[in-house]
C-alpha cells in the first residue's frame, strides 16, 4: 500500500494537538516513515502548499475570515479531513463566550484601535466544511492519536470511544467525585478516551474532551442542581469546552447565585 500523503495544519488554538504529535517521541520516526508528511508548518520548512492530500489533520478553531479560506483550501486538497483537538471539534475554550458579543470583547482588550479586525465567533471546523473524522481532547490523547494514525496507515477508519468518561472512571475504580464529594463532575456527559484522567487525580472532569454522543445534559443539569450547584456555575462548566455544541446550550432560565 502506498504511504498516505499527510498534511498537519493549525488554525487558532494552543498548538497542543500538534505538540502531542511531536510528543510521540518514541514513535515519531516510525510514524514519519509510514506517512508521507508534506506539510507541517510547526515542525518543518519546505512545506508543499498545493499537493493533494490523503489525510489532512487540522487543529484549532476558526476565529477569523482568513482561516475560513485556509480551511476551505485544505478541504479541497484532502480526501479525508480529520479535526484534531477540542478547538477543531467543538470550538475550544475560545468559544466559551460566543453568545456574548465578540465586538465587546475586542473593545475590552484593544480599545478603539481594534475596530478593523476581522473576527468571527470561534467555531469548529464542521461549521464551515465537511469533517470526516473528529479526534477530540484538549489536547488529544497520544495513544488515541497513534492508534488512529495506525488504523489509517492500515487502511481503516479509526475507532474512537463513543461512551462517557464515567465508564473509564469505573474501570479504574476511582472514587466517584460526584457522589462521594459532591463535586461538579462532567464525567457522565463527556466523551471518554482520557482514561478518566482528572478523577484519577482527585479532580472533577471539566469536560475538556467535549460532549459524548447523545449526552443527556438535561439529566446532568438536574442532578447537579439537586446537589446545590447554581445554574450559572453549571452553565459555565458546560460551556468551558463544549461552548459550540448544541447540547450544551442549556437555557439560562434561572439566575442562581
Amino acid at each position: 500500500m502506498a504511504k498516505p500523503i499527510v498534511g498537519i495544519f493549525g488554525l487558532t488554538g494552543c498548538a497542543g494537538d500538534q505538540l502531542v504529535i511531536l510528543n510521540c517521541e518514541d514513535e515519531l520516526l516510525d510514524l514519519a516513515g509510514a506517512l508521507d508528511i508534506r506539510s507541517f508548518h510547526m515542525a518543518m520548512s519546505d512545506n508543499d502548499e498545493d499537493c493533494d492530500l490523503d489525510i489532512a489533520l487540522v487543529e484549532g478553531s476558526v476565529v477569523q475570515p482568513e482561516e475560513v479560506e485556509m480551511l476551505e483550501r485544505i478541504r479541497s486538497r484532502a480526501r479525508l479531513l480529520i479535526a484534531i483537538g477540542t478547538c477543531a471539534v467543538w470550538g475550544g475554550v475560545q468559544a466559551m463566550k460566543n453568545e456574548e458579543q465578540r465586538e465587546k470583547l475586542k473593545r475590552q482588550v484593544y480599545g478603539p484601535k481594534g475596530k478593523d479586525f476581522g473576527i468571527i465567533p470561534s467555531q469548529p471546523l464542521s461549521s464551515f466544511v465537511r469533517v470526516d473524522y473528529a479526534i477530540s481532547g484538549c489536547p488529544i490523547e497520544k495513544d488515541q492519536f497513534l492508534q488512529a494514525a495506525l488504523s489509517l496507515i492500515h487502511g481503516d477508519l479509526p475507532v474512537l470511544p463513543d461512551y462517557a468518561v464515567c465508564t473509564e472512571c469505573k474501570m479504574r475504580e476511582n472514587s466517584c467525585l460526584l457522589l462521594e464529594r459532591g463535586e461538579l463532575c462532567l464525567g457522565p456527559i463527556t466523551v471518554a478516551g482520557c482514561n478518566a484522567r482528572c478523577p484519577a487525580y482527585g479532580q472533577p472532569c471539566i469536560g475538556c474532551r467535549g460532549p459524548v454522543e447523545e449526552a443527556n445534559v438535561a439529566s446532568e443539569v438536574n442532578l447537579l442542581r439537586e446537589k446545590g450547584f447554581t445554574l450559572v456555575d453549571i452553565q459555565n462548566r458546560l460551556r468551558t469546552f463544549g461552548g459550540q455544541s448544541e447540547v450544551m446550550q442549556v437555557a439560562p432560565t434561572e439566575r442562581g447565585r
Binding site: H154, G155, D156, V159
Partner: protein
Amino acid sequence: MNRENIYFPHLAQITRILPQIEDHKLFGLTFVDKSMKDNFSYRPGQFVELSIIGTGEAPISISSSPTRPGTVELCVRRVGRVTNALYNLERDDLVGIRGPYGNGFPVEELEGNNLLLVAGGLGMAPLRSLLWYTLDNRERFEDVTLMYGAKIPDEMLFKYELLSLLDRPDLRCMLTVDKDEEGIWPAHIGVVTTLFDQIEIDPSTTYAAVCGPPVMYRFVLEELLKRNLSKDRILMSLERKMKCGVGKCGHCAIGYKYTCLDGPIFTYWDAINLPELI
C-alpha cells in the same frame, strides 16, 4: 491453553472474487489447513465470523451449500471497516474465519415438505445456501419455490446463476424486479409480494424461509399468514449487531435469545415472543 481457543480464527485464502452488484461481491474462500478444508461442515443458514487481521471481525452468512465442500462462499456488502478492508484484498490474500455458528435452517425438519424461499436484497445470501442444498438433495423435498425480488435488474444478486434456474423443471424460480426502465428484464415485474397471487400454499405441508431487509418482513408475513401458514412454519434469518458469535459478548441478545446461539434462524412464533426481534 489445553483446549481449542474459541477466539482464534483459521486462515483461509481468497480463491475467487466475483463482483455481483455495486458494493456486493462473492468471495470464495479455502482453508489453508488441510484438515479444516476437508472437515469444515455446516448447515444452510449458519454464519461465520470473518476476520481481517488488524481491522476486526464481522459475522457473515455462508452463501454456499454444504453439499459442495472445499470452498466456502460469502456474499459481502461493503458497509464499514471490516467489509471495506475485505474489498481491499485480492485473490490469494489471507483472511481469518471462525465458525460455523448459529442454528441454521432445520433441514431435517423441512424434509418431505414443500419449501417456499422468499428473499429480498442481500437476504439471498443465506437463502442461496438453502436453495442449493435442496436442489442438490432434490429427492428429499416436495415442491420448491424461490421468490426473489430486487429493485432493478442491476441490483439482483447472483443474477445469471438464478436466471439459469428459470427453466429448471424441479424448481419454481420466480424472480422479480420492482422496476425495469430499460425493458430488458425477462421475468416478473413488481414487488415480491405480488408474486404471491401466482402460487398456491398448502399450509399443512409447507415451510417458508424468509430473509430480507426489515421492511420486507412485514408485507411477506402478512401474505403468509393470510394463507394460514402456521407461525412456527415461517422461518426467518435475522441480523443483529454481533461481536463474538459464541454467546459471550452480549450484543446480539434479544429478550431471552441470543441471535448467535439460538438464531439467526427464528420462527415467526419466536418473533411474537421477542418484541424487539423484528
